[in-house]
Amino acid sequence: MWFTLTPLEREALSLSLLVSGWAVVGSLPFGIFSAWVLARRDFPGKSLFDGLIHLPLVLPPVVVGYALLVLLGRKGVVGAWLYDWFGITLAFTWKGAAIASAVVAFPLMVRAIRLALEGVDRGLEQAARTLGCGPIRTFFSVTMPLAMPGVLAGVILAFARSLSEFGATITFVSNIPGETRTLPIALYALTQVPGSDEPALRLCIISVVVAFAALLASEILAHRMRVRMEG
């Protein structure tokens, strides 16, 4: 039976969607804020801030994962504090996987949103100001709607990157069935077992289908937005 998912596949797929979904939703406000700071503000140390945000793009994911372990692990600088005060454990849980995915996908999200914000006509924002909108209201009623196609592209890109996240995840949260074994990690585990060619291929196909569906959805949404603005 090619078209029904096995329990293992269903588990990995739903875990991947959960982890990636939370990674994107959780990092989106920070992503929009960072993109806005980079697109619209000038301050000393801006290039340092820019570099810091882009760092996960050029670092080996294993380094990111290890850094997260050091920072957010049960005995880590921040992790110990989180556990003592709130009883929150991130290492070796799906929440930790979401954080690892979010960190790795963050630069891609910020880049896309920053480009979109830079493309928004400042004259329209000025017009909104003269019509009685404060800076925050202007941002939500003019800037964001106009940047929406780019924000959407950033979200989809980050989502796809999260789906494919492997190195940082396996370093930070390891491979725990039902908790942190996402699609790529399940696939990696299968490739370590001799004679698992068919289940590995099935996981490959599932990954391709999910990624492709995400891209298609973003294309359709972006097209609809364009039509709405031109009609």
Partner: protein, 372 residues
Amino acid sequence: MLEIDVTRRQGDFTLEIAFTAGSGVTALFGQSGSGKTSLINMVAGLSQPDRGRIAVDGKVLFDSGRGVNLPPESRRLGYVFQEHRLFPHLSVHDNLCFGMKRLPPAERRISVDHVVSVLGIGPLLDRRPTGLSGGEKQRVAIGRALLASPRILLMDEPLASLDGGRKNELLPFIAGLSRQFDIPIVYVSHSMEEVLRLADTLALIDAGRLAAIGSVEDLLSSPNYAALTGHGEAGSVIAATLTGEESAFGISTLAFPGGELKVSQIASPSGTLVRVRIHAQDVAIALAPPVGLSVRNQLSAVVRSVTPLDFYLVDVILDCGGCALWSRITAEAQSELSLRPGMSVTALIKSLTIARGDVADRPFGLVDTLPG
């Protein structure tokens, strides 16, 4: 009333301007780069003067001495930009209501229905700005600014991006706005035709400074500002009212404080306010009223000033019932007439020298607002 007194340095350029603009339309006229747009951006709060004070109806918007600098959204000024700047993600209706929605209902002085009917944009309400023509977009932009019930309407060359036909379609709307909505307008322009048709007061801006401010007629009839107004040849501008026509002869009569002018026929109805431009070289001077002359316009006048222009020409400013009338005669004629200030003379103007293009309708002008 707008009071402005500001200084701002931008590189080599220093803008230093102080004036007061009252009701009606005040035109800021000057070459590109003279600082007109910078000035109204400061009024709107989109840029900040280095020093100075800006107040509207007594409310201080900016005062460097007292550390007051209201953000644009708290100034309650309408701004119509050169490019329409409509929000592409909103329908025409939502664009119109954008500023109004943010205003407490008690402070909304102007109704959507009124604006829609005056600007004739009823059929466009459900459309998106992208599909509109340039003239339609600019009308919606004007409506959007008006509906925010501003204290003053600032307009930065709103017709500059439109072609001639669209311009003529929009001019009457703008001319009527100030009176219909009882709102002072500050209108930035570098087109003298727009100034003639729209403005009550003219402020001449030159290289960041105010060269002169006064009534359109006074400034455009003065040889002192001819270089700045750059308006073709030397001449005077007179405000007049269309009083009648003799269609059999293709002539219209205009009344102005100095008497009556006969010009080639104008299609507008009797009572329309117009501005007439009379070229200095078309005004002849006689020491006594001549008889048996083909020249239709003979106006009694008093010489105000005589200024030699060069060895060949002399500029004579005549006072014609309080209106300045500029005449340019040859130095040889002056040597024979010996014109001096205070002399009573007769000014002669041929009707056909006042062409259709020299008469500018002010479509919503009413007779009782005729100055003088």
